[in-house]
Symmetry: C2
Subunit: 308 residues, 2 copies
Amino acid sequence: MTCDFNRILADLDWSKQPKRLYEPIGYALSAGGKRVRPQLCLLGAATVSGEQVVMGHVLPAALALEIFHNFTLLHDDVMDKAQVRRGRPCVHIRWDENTAILSGDQMLIEAYKMLSGVPADKLAECLRLFNEMATGICEGQQLDMDFETREDVTLDDYREMIRLKTAVLLATALRMGAYIAGADAAMQQTLYEIGIHIGIAFQIEDDLLDCYGDEKTFGKAIGGDIREGKKTFMLLTAERLKGGHIAVKGQPLEDVLALYDSLHVKEVAVAAIHEETAAAIAKLHQLPDTAARQTLIEMANKLQQRIQ
Amino acid sequence: MTCDFNRILADLDWSKQPKRLYEPIGYALSAGGKRVRPQLCLLGAATVSGEQVVMGHVLPAALALEIFHNFTLLHDDVMDKAQVRRGRPCVHIRWDENTAILSGDQMLIEAYKMLSGVPADKLAECLRLFNEMATGICEGQQLDMDFETREDVTLDDYREMIRLKTAVLLATALRMGAYIAGADAAMQQTLYEIGIHIGIAFQIEDDLLDCYGDEKTFGKAIGGDIREGKKTFMLLTAERLKGGHIAVKGQPLEDVLALYDSLHVKEVAVAAIHEETAAAIAKLHQLPDTAARQTLIEMANKLQQRIQ
């Protein structure tokens, strides 16, 4: 059960007028990527229906989630003053900030338009799940920004922030797909929790790759989080191990990485990723034995392998 | 049939965490204003149901439209680099740009949350109308920004821009209220067209007040459109009367107003407002004779009186 979301997204028509509103949407959606969220939505449905998934029922939700995700990237890049996204200039660099704000707003509206294509009897609940997810993302992004100027952020605060900012979208993707395919509340909940574990693992990995990744495959410059003073898993773990606040903003990247190395922060991050992945896989084994479940187990395992 | 929307909006709880995400939403929604959009939604319903309007059915749509409208003001003020809104600092001045972007995004999501409270059997169509309206607003805002750097904008281009940017929201408010109250397609269409006429009159009046208004009642500085080089009804009419492009950006306000006076631009604007209002009132007379219709006629007439 796979689907070429890059092709489907490329086939959407963004050549409409006014050009400057829609062209950046097409640009943002054509940057590629693994399309994890729509795949998870489809896999959520397939854990219920197996090979009998009705694509026309699930696709509107899957695409709405991917469009929403790319909307958040667009606005986050403005807020973070990022330069590069997936190896290409960010929308606010390629065009300007106003374009990024307005085209981003339209992307959010396009996500809702897409979502309204789910089966009529599922619309109200899908909209409710979507709104709850979208609210979580905004709250997570706000916490992330709040943390930049706070010195008392704990790993528990961090976990709540990435749960909202990253994990609820993956969890909602799995759950919404399953809901559309007819899953009961218990199965929806299990899939949601699997998504949370995968999402947290995913974000810790992202934090780790910001320090130790390869710029080419990572798609952006190494050390961005450190330069911006982001409260990452790496920094908060280093602070916990050192027993006090560490000011990284403005410090040379090599010095910060040397400190992290001396504290074995990377090993702690790898262990945390393993732990979350194991929790996800344990829950996956509670689901019926389907090809979709097997694919999800493989996805979770692949996540671990990227950082070994 | 009236409703204290200022009180209802003030009673919504924006004291949630994270504070910096929700507090600006409460700030933006507490600025007052005439609450024209939710009133129109209610009046649209009342043209169908008379005094029998079920508030619980219409209120979610009315509030969703008002929250959406205030979201657009919040992001527009960032894009226009405005300082003051309804006599108070704009959100991006009172806080900062990132806060205005993210709280604005959350406001848009809150509008969809509110909208999902309409009766279940009306949700799909309300969502469709809302999405179409929201898209129109973004397209109108983009055209408005595009026009700033264009010298070939005609009054027809302008009309299409303000139809999208201003009028479709008023038209959708009237129509959605009527739809929820059970109006047939023809009556919905008549109310939509009334909203378009009122909206266009409203926007031309706004352009006129930017030149000749009282700063206190207008709530913002006079001449803002001229300073920003906006293609307003005033400027485009002056260009048409003078028969060529007029560069107003950077010119002293008095000089531009003296030029407008010499060309009698104000009189042309007043005539255009009268024409649109008359068209709205003519269509209002096609509706059943209700108290709501009478209120709408009075609202349209009041619009004219403000600028005499």
